[in-house]
């Protein structure tokens, strides 16, 4: 993939922005201190990727929109993130399964985009690839421990897979279809190692990339955007 469209830059930025916000909800609420720090760090990485991509999208578009304009003043219908990342954190097993699904997808995406002829995007992607790989060690490690842990942790991890599976096909719409085989292989082996079954539900939800979201995104954006919308241009 070599063509950079503002649309695709925004879609990837939105994925990272929304997931950063979701993971941010867990800061001071994680099961233990080390996990709290890990999730906070992961959220920061996603936020950093989102910021770089919003800035690049704004420059590419050339209409003078800043990263803040793009993150804080676009509506739910204008956000084109995947449905997966806007799903509520649920329990820790759900959070880790969602992260694993997304990390593996992002590894394929960034590996591809790190060779883009758009060098700014290639640089952002090269950095994000290392981060996604690091995040994936954490999420896959936890999915293994939970799936292969107690009866209760196994049940919850399997429940996370079952509930979130319906949002996985959406990651591979359009040009992203090329990432699907590698994703499936990695996820399958991670689930086998964890003693978990892949999702069986053939019903797949899509719409995020066209701005049709689940009911959860509106609430997330309301919380994230209210300050800028109440006090436009407010600075830290």
């Amino acid at each position: 993939m070599t063509i950079t469209s503002v649309t695709s830059l925004l879609a990837h930025a939105d994925d990272n922005m929304v997931l950063a916000q979701r993971l941010g909800e867990l800061i001071s609420n994680a099961p233990e201190l080390e996990i709290d720090i890990a999730l906070g760090n992961t959220a920061l990485d996603h936020l950093g990727v989102a910021r770089a991509l919003y800035t690049h999208a704004g420059n590419t578009e050339g209409a003078g929109r800043s990263e803040d304009d793009l993150a804080m003043f676009r509506t739910e219908r204008e956000y084109t993130n995947l449905l997966l990342v806007e799903q509520p954190n649920g329990d820790f097993a759900h959070t880790m399964v969602r992260q694993l699904f997304f990390d593996v997808y992002q590894m394929e995406l960034w590996r591809d985009l790190s060779t883009s002829s758009d060098t700014t995007l290639a640089g952002i992607a090269a950095r994000a690839l290392k981060e996604a790989t690091y995040h994936m060690r954490f999420s896959s490690g936890w999915v293994t421990r939970l799936g292969d842990g107690t009866e209760e942790s196994h049940r919850r991890a399997q429940d996370g897979v079952n509930v979130l599976w319906r949002y996985t096909s959406e990651m591979f719409e359009g040009e992203a279809e090329q990432y699907h085989p590698a994703w499936s292989i990695t996820i399958e082996s991670a689930l086998i190692e964890a003693g978990l079954e892949p999702g069986a539900d053939p019903y797949q939800r899509t719409g995020g990339r066209s701005g049709f979201h689940t009911e959860h995104l509106g609430f997330l954006l309301a919380e994230m955007q209210w300050m800028q919308r109440s006090y436009p241009g407010l600075k830290w």
């Binding site: 760090n41 990485d45 770089a52 090269a126 950095r127 981060e131 690091y134 060690r137």
Partner: protein, 155 residues
């Protein structure tokens, strides 16, 4: 008193290179390898840097600190530009920077097999937490002297 019009490139480079990482104040942005270029051109001073980790909150602080470092010697309106390509790597940390990190008690970025304790040089540390106090560090403990220490993640 210098200004943006009279500052020499040598001075400008020196001022920019003196800015330190707010989280690891023993390292300058030059040691870290994020200082890419300093240009003095007809009254404009442009300092170009490359971000480290996407999620490093110190980057914004360093940008402000660059501007302030120039203001301190009377040069106003310095521009800080960000370039993402090629992506920063811990390989860009200078040897001097690696030495300073170790003296500061942080194990510099090497592969995990080559990692040694910055306190006692023992080579059998174990990882306590993959995600440490900042985006760039993991938390280790030395199995010889028992001291916990930060490890600059190879990136």
């Amino acid at each position: 008193m210098v200004t943006a019009t009279t500052i020499s490139i040598v001075t400008a480079r020196k001022v920019a290179a003196s800015v330190v990482d707010p989280e690891i104040p023993v390292l300058t942005i030059d040691d870290l390898g994020i200082l890419r270029s300093v240009v003095v051109d007809e009254g404009r001073v442009i300092v170009t840097i490359t971000p480290t980790y996407s999620g490093c909150p110190a980057m914004g602080q360093m940008e402000d600190d660059i501007v302030t470092a120039f203001e301190r010697i009377g040069v106003e309106g310095v521009e800080v530009a960000t370039v993402h390509f090629p992506a920063w790597s811990t390989d860009w940390i200078s040897e001097d920077g690696q030495r300073k990190l170790r003296q500061f008690g942080i194990a510099p970025a090497v592969s995990e097999q080559d990692l040694t304790c910055p306190q006692c040089d023992a080579s059998t540390p174990t990882m306590i937490a993959r995600f440490g106090s900042t985006a760039c560090k993991a938390l280790m403990v030395c199995s010889s002297c028992g001291e916990p220490f930060d490890f600059f993640k190879p990136f």
